[in-house]
Amino acid sequence: MTSEQVGNLVGLMLQYTIPTLKIFFFTLLYSIPLGMVVALLKMCRFKPISWLTNIYILIMRGTPLLLQLIVVQYSVPYIRISDACPEFLRDFLNKIDIRSEDYIFNMILLAFVLNYAAYFAEIFRGGIESIPKGQYEAAGALGFGKAQTFFRVILPQVVKRVVPASSNEIITLVKDTSLASAIPYMEIMYIAKKQVPTYASLLPLFIAGIFYFVIAMVLTVVFSAVEKKLDYYK
């Protein structure tokens, strides 16, 4: 393979890094806050809500993400041809263009967000439950309301405690974005796979691997800096 060909491949993959990062960033943007909500719902003292949330988490963590991506992607066409589908829903679903780029991306994002929110929820729940009861009691004795206690006393401490586990999850997400290539969605993995027969070489996959590795490396450095920054108290 000539160096020109390698250059072309790198350029091509750089171009497809943008859709990869798009899945990555938007998944984080929505799944982290949603994960916090799910964590609080699971800790809800009203049992039915806690159970339902737990079933959601069990399903998301117990089935493959690839399967979830495909199910979500094909949900619209299959629901709208089903006999059980109510009319108003069918009318609504019929308006959706399932071949549009927006639809494909949004459904991929939806699957990623639902899946990662479940994992983040368990991390956050662990973090919240690890805060000593005395912190709530001290806040209560000082007259803080429930929301003030959560946002001013509990949450800042939870953030510090969940950074290591969350960064692990976030680095996994970088690599999981490659699953979207199966939909298909045109990102790094998709384009690398497509180049293998063209070049009759595994090099495109190696280059793709380097791309993922570099992104993961950057995140590793960022998170260890964040951990250090949060180390001002024990």
């Binding site: 209560g140 004795a141 006393v153």
Partner: protein, 254 residues
């Protein structure tokens, strides 16, 4: 004038009765020590008065406001949310293990409640906090984090934090039990000073000498009951009940 009035207070965890028929009052400027063997309900009593546990029966009145009162059906009911919150601001609580907020500086630990709850300005709250820190001998630690302080220093910060809300009455839940003898002396000195300034206080403690010297009144509890209450000369003297004498025997022989 009574700052705190407790009448026939009872509390149980399931079938286990941990407080039975507790009645006492604390007048303005009084320092009251609560003593007794471990598991006698001293801490639970303090936690009920500070709304950290729900009592099952009886009445609690703080600064002439009913916190827990008996309704026409003879059941004990709590006041509404706003009243309970107002009462919380009139009481201060110092914990055995300090419970400072580890992510805030010493200064912010003290100013957070005045700013967020009492809506004081940051400058005003900081000025009050610095005064309190000075009183505790900790002005130089304002910018430190709790993890950088000794246990005694942390407990002094937590006392300052409670005082920052200018409570009518201050409760101490075994404030020295997590400290070594040297640091214990440090904290007892601070409490003694507060007592001499006329601060109304209720102190759950195992420091018998301190209770005898500082308290205006001592309550001896066992098995969820008040066995005896009275002045230190009564409980530490010849007229005390046999159980109290037995409990204090080791101390009196020292």
């Amino acid at each position: 004038m009574a700052v705190l009035e407790v009448r026939n207070l009872s509390k149980s965890f399931g079938n286990l009765e941990v407080l039975s028929d507790i009645s006492f009052e604390v007048k303005k400027g009084e320092a009251v020590a609560v003593i007794g063997p471990s598991g006698s309900g001293k801490s639970t009593l303090l936690r009920c008065i500070n709304q950290l546990e729900k009592a099952n029966g009886g009445t609690i009145r703080i600064c002439d406001t009913d916190m827990l009162s008996v309704n026409e059906n003879g059941k004990s009911v709590y006041a509404d949310k706003d009243t309970l919150r107002a009462i919380r601001l009139k009481t201060g609580l110092v914990f055995q293990n300090f419970n400072l907020f580890p992510h805030m500086t010493v200064l912010r630990n003290i100013t957070e409640a005045p700013v967020c709850v009492l809506k004081k300005s940051k400058e005003e709250a900081a000025a009050t906090a610095m005064e309190l820190l000075k009183k505790m001998g900790l002005e130089s630690k304002a910018k430190s984090y709790p993890c950088e302080l000794s246990g005694g220093q942390q407990q002094r910060v937590s006392i300052a934090r409670a005082l920052a809300l200018s409570p009518e009455i201050l409760f101490f839940d075994e404030p020295t039990s997590a400290l070594d003898p040297e640091l214990t002396g440090e904290i007892l000195k601070v409490i003694k000073e507060l007592a001499s300034e006329g601060m109304t206080m209720v102190i759950v403690t195992h420091e018998m000498g301190f209770a005898r010297d500082v308290a205006d009144k001592i309550i001896f509890m066992e098995g969820g009951y008040i066995v005896e209450q009275g002045g230190p000369e009564q409980l530490f003297g010849e007229s005390a009940s046999d159980r109290v004498k037995q409990f204090l025997q080791r101390f009196n022989n020292l």
